[in-house]
Symmetry: C2
Subunit: 299 residues, 2 copies
């Protein structure tokens, strides 16, 4: 039976490390990291995500700058707000909660966030630097959608799984998870295969993998029989499936058939409770890194 | 026996297509593409490469701007020259011949080339856009070192090899060839594995591949017995090996054992005469694309 990787516990460990570093920064320089969280409109899910992020900031001593904007705001005004946050030296990270209202071009707004404050790591320049050897991106991509490629690697590292020289398969090639995960694994010296919807018989490739990152968005598509004995399986999928036994009418399942795969794998993350809890933590870690870089260079 | 892909012939076809487009552009707008070729110092090999590029420009009706600078030029002065070329609206592509003298930081100089004129495609933002779905880089990377990832795909296309849904293996992960080739193949819907020096038993992976891009810089490392029958093999390697029977004392060989592999492969590029002749042509194609973009937007 696989060791189940407890994302909540790992996230908690990292959070206490962040809190320690924030304390040191404050003692040494009299300054703390600042994260601006921008929300447009009143979507319930967005408000709940934003609330979680602000609460986590408070717990770790990170100053949160709350920017709540009306649904009707124009794109130009929103960009003006982003520019003000770019110029604010107490703000080290800027997060614009997605989705934005339909009249606003998300990509345009995100590209206005200054590179050094792009804690979600979505800027194409960050992805480019991620891809290229000898260059480091300022931030590793960490998505606002509870999916996080850097969380995958952090979970592997903290579980004691070696990446170098291993065969890794990433299932999915989205800009926000699959692609950055492939690039990160390649930088960490894994032999990486990226599998996607045009791949015929992905099971034959997955069966050879020491490390499987599942980010396809297909409930339970990866069967237990596809997993190599002892492999490390990180499941980024969070798919809602009907479940009439639940009050909500649904439950969340991953891209991996956990019940089957946990019999064969060496390590496996559950859904929920695996990658999910890591997301906000990686965002806070990125904010801390941005703050350290800025404060140490300007003190 | 494999069909040997004749890089010279393909390059010639593309060059005549470019010449046609240059003519059309000139008729319609009274303007032609301009390529600035910057060379610092007097290295014989650099002068020979630069000469080839300038000659090719002349043949196709592309105006070449020759900037020959002394070995002792300071980095600041060189960057000033780059800025002037950035500002020159008759220049649509800027190529700085590498290597630069040791007192100059190459990466710094290359990053000063304006993105729209970066015909070598080395800017990290171009690599980022290459990696991300739904974004297109302004230029596909095309290196000055006679190796060119976009040339690989062009050779496959022009030989009638389908990429979508195929298993592709890229051997090597350099910023200038391996990595962009992997990203291009992934965008073209191949299932891509990137193999490198930390991969154990690469032969087992290569044996499954319908498409092999060899860019490891290891003479004849890929044996004939590693090639799946019918596979398309693009050899980007150009390795000099001792050959006392030649006047020069050496000859060029690829990363693939051509003699063996050509018995099994469906398509194969020779070295020399495969990818090599495509390089300058892809540079000219990038210059044409840059010119079309600029001229059509500003007329």
């Amino acid at each position: 039976m696989a060791t189940v990787i407890d994302g909540k516990a790992v996230a908690q460990t990292i959070r206490s490390e962040i809190a320690d570093e924030v304390r040191l920064l404050s003692q040494k320089y009299g300054k703390v990291p600042g994260l601006a969280v921008v929300i447009v409109g009143h979507r319930k899910d967005s408000q709940s995500y934003v609330g979680m992020k602000r609460k986590a900031c408070a717990e770790l001593g990170i100053k949160s700058f709350d920017v709540d904007l009306p649904e009707q705001i124009s794109q130009a005004e929103l960009i003006k707000q982003v520019h003000e946050l770019n110029a604010n030296t107490d703000v080290h990270g800027i997060l614009v909660q997605l989705p934005l209202p339909k009249h606003i071009n998300e990509e345009k707004v995100l590209s206005e966030i200054s590179l050094e404050k792009d804690v979600d790591g979505f800027h194409p320049l960050n992805i480019g630097k991620l891809a290229m050897k000898g260059r480091d991106p300022l931030f590793l991509p960490c998505t606002p959608k509870a999916k996080c490629s850097s969380a995958c690697l952090e979970l592997l590292h903290r579980s004691g799984v070696t990446i170098k020289g291993k065969q890794a398969v990433v299932v999915g090639r989205s800009n926000i998870v699959g692609l950055p995960a492939s690039l990160l694994l390649l930088k960490a010296d894994a032999t990486v295969t990226t599998v996607h919807s045009h791949t015929s018989q992905p099971e034959n490739i997955i069966r050879e993998a020491d490390i499987v990152i599942a980010a396809a968005g297909q409930p339970k598509m990866i069967k237990g029989s596809w997993i190599k004995p002892g492999a490390a399986v990180i499941d980024v999928g969070t798919n809602a499936v009907d479940d009439p036994t639940r009050k909500s009418g649904y439950r969340l399942v991953g891209d991996v058939d956990f019940e089957e795969a946990s019999k064969t794998a060496g390590y496996i993350t559950p859904v929920p409770g695996g990658v999910g809890p890591m997301t906000v933590t990686m965002l806070l870690k990125n904010t801390l890194e941005g703050a350290k870089r800025y404060i140490e260079q300007n003190s």
